[in-house]
Amino acid sequence: MAAYIIRRLIQTALILLGISFVTFILLYLVPADPARQIAGRSATAETVENIREQLGLNLPFYEQYLRYLASLLQGDFGRSYLQKTEVSTLIAARLPASLLLMAGAIACELAFGLAMGIVAALRRGSHTDNALMITSFIGVSAPQFVIGILLLYVFAVKLGWFPIGGYGTFVHLVLPSVTLGFLGAGWYSRMMRSSLIDVLRQDYVRTARATGLSRAKVLFRHAMPNAILPIVAMIGIDIGLFMSGIVVVESVFGWPGIGQLAWQAIQRVDIPIIMGVTLVSACAIVLGNLLADLVTPLIDPRIKLR
């Protein structure tokens, strides 16, 4: 166990190193000259050269990368070209809103996804099952921005139940969470269904039924703990979907998180911010996968770590 955790941590550290390298190469490839962008249009050649010197842009490739890595390790993601603020400060200020939105989305997708999956598995082959599975297909095929605008149109503009956008109270959280969780709910319901169908076929479930336990008790006490395992591993992958999704959802709802920060940076081609958000997201995904790997054996003692 300890050996596995150590190996997994080393692997994670290597992947994080790789991520920093890929991000650096992408930054390196950007055609715009950061020194010129920082100096402004009216700067003299000398000023630009001074800034280049300061930023270390004249150094050889590997030295630039080492400097970049060293500053990353100190939590320095560089400065925004246009806002003249530290990228790490901007991201730190926006992160809580995004985390809140993701928590809301996880709640939505677990509630909808698991409920749909369980009902479909229990009523396997029925019209209810078919209808639920078509719904889940729509969930994974629907573009998030269209779902977001549709929910806004129906529930905010026409019915007036929720505010059109903004941030602060629980009612502001509902529509963005549902939009972000819609895709995941589709995946969860399909996984829950096939996993539960597999478990319900097993002998121990039949035995439990034969001892005279009620259907509900067999389902929730005996079948579900096993059926839910693949879902736990999914949450790691989920974080990746969320990190893409928040850019769209936050721009539709005007939610002040890192997705909106990235979206505004796209409009102004503010590369350091886009790279910072990408870096933070990639780290979140790697750590999410690590967490899922480490948590699974705690829930399921049959899984041996090697």
Binding site: I15, S141, P143, V157, V248, I266, A282
Partner: protein
């Protein structure tokens, strides 16, 4: 899984796969949507009632607002008075070209990397698959955004960007299967007879992987269509005035409260096409992959 090469070849080209596909109502519905979209894209110039780029004077109300769907403009007009139906039909070209080109490149890259890593093992495996893991850690949309910000977006650049993001998943799937195939006796036998790596890979291992690749290629088009629409919606995909379903929404979204058709009609088109490819891909997986049978 224990099929011979001949059997796999037969099942990949077998008319009965298509016949079995047509017997599933959902897959049939998906195929119809795909066919309609392909026909619309191919015959766009003959189908559309108006020039998709022309801004009609009578396409706007006196106040300058877009027209809702009516007898002259079937799906209404957009903010500058262009015919939405015509733009939508031309937009099908964008979606399909990107769907097929981007996904085609992604499938080729992913299959090559997966099959090479799975067969050669050793350091080739380590380097290629660790690189794949690394690319998996990047959220697809954000990586595409960064790439689109680096290169100035055009139709082909968008296709390349999507391909560079989407090959990862197919590489993983192909790798897992190629690895187990390389351990099999028939591959050993080939090797013992002195067959070269190229011959084994392309004549013996690849045919076994065809059904997997077909399934993932179909599902991948759905992902590609959605990613293109999302990039265009964010304004960094296909650039206006070239119509794409995503950028029609991008151009008109600020007025969705007063002109909802400008968002929801293209939105429905994106959903229908992505859903169609997902339904067909899922049915193909059921039909081609015997290990999945009985689970649905």
């Amino acid at each position: 899984m224990s099929r011979t090469v001949a059997e796999t070849r037969a099942s990949a080209a077998n008319p009965s796969v298509i016949a079995r596909l047509l017997r599933r109502p959902l897959a049939l519905a998906g195929l119809i949507v795909i066919c309609v979209t392909v026909l619309a894209a191919v015959f766009a110039p003959w189908l559309v009632p108006f020039d998709p780029y022309e801004q009609f004077f009578e396409g706007l109300t006196i106040e300058g607002a877009p027209l809702p769907p009516n007898a002259q403009f079937w799906f209404g007009t957009d903010l500058v008075g262009r015919d939405l139906f015509s733009r939508l039909v031309y937009g099908a070209r964008t979606s399909l070209v990107i769907g097929v080109v981007a996904n085609g490149i992604a499938v080729i890259i992913g299959s090559l990397i997966g099959i090479t890593a799975g067969y050669f093992r050793g350091w080739t495996d380590t380097v290629l698959m660790r690189f794949t893991d690394l690319m998996m850690a990047f959220p697809a949309l954000l990586l595409a955004i960064v790439l689109a910000a680096i290169f100035t977006p055009s139709l082909w650049i968008v296709a390349m960007v999507i391909a560079m993001v989407n090959w990862v998943q197919i590489a993983r799937v192909v790798y897992t299967e190629a690895r187990s195939l390389s351990e099999r006796d028939f591959v050993m036998a080939e090797r013992a007879m002195g067959a070269g790596a190229g011959r084994i890979l392309f004549r013996h291992i690849l045919p076994h992987l065809l059904s997997t690749i077909i399934v993932w290629a179909t599902l991948g088009i759905a992902t590609t269509v959605l990613l293109e629409a999302t990039l265009s919606f964010l304004g960094i995909g296909v650039q206006p005035p070239t119509p794409s379903w995503g950028n029609i929404i991008f151009e008109n979204q600020t007025y969705f409260t007063s002109a909802p058709w400008l968002v929801f009609i293209p939105g429905a088109a994106i959903l229908a096409l992505a859903l169609a490819f997902n339904l067909v891909g899922d049915a193909l997986r059921d039909i081609l992959d015997p290990t999945q049978q009985g689970r649905h």
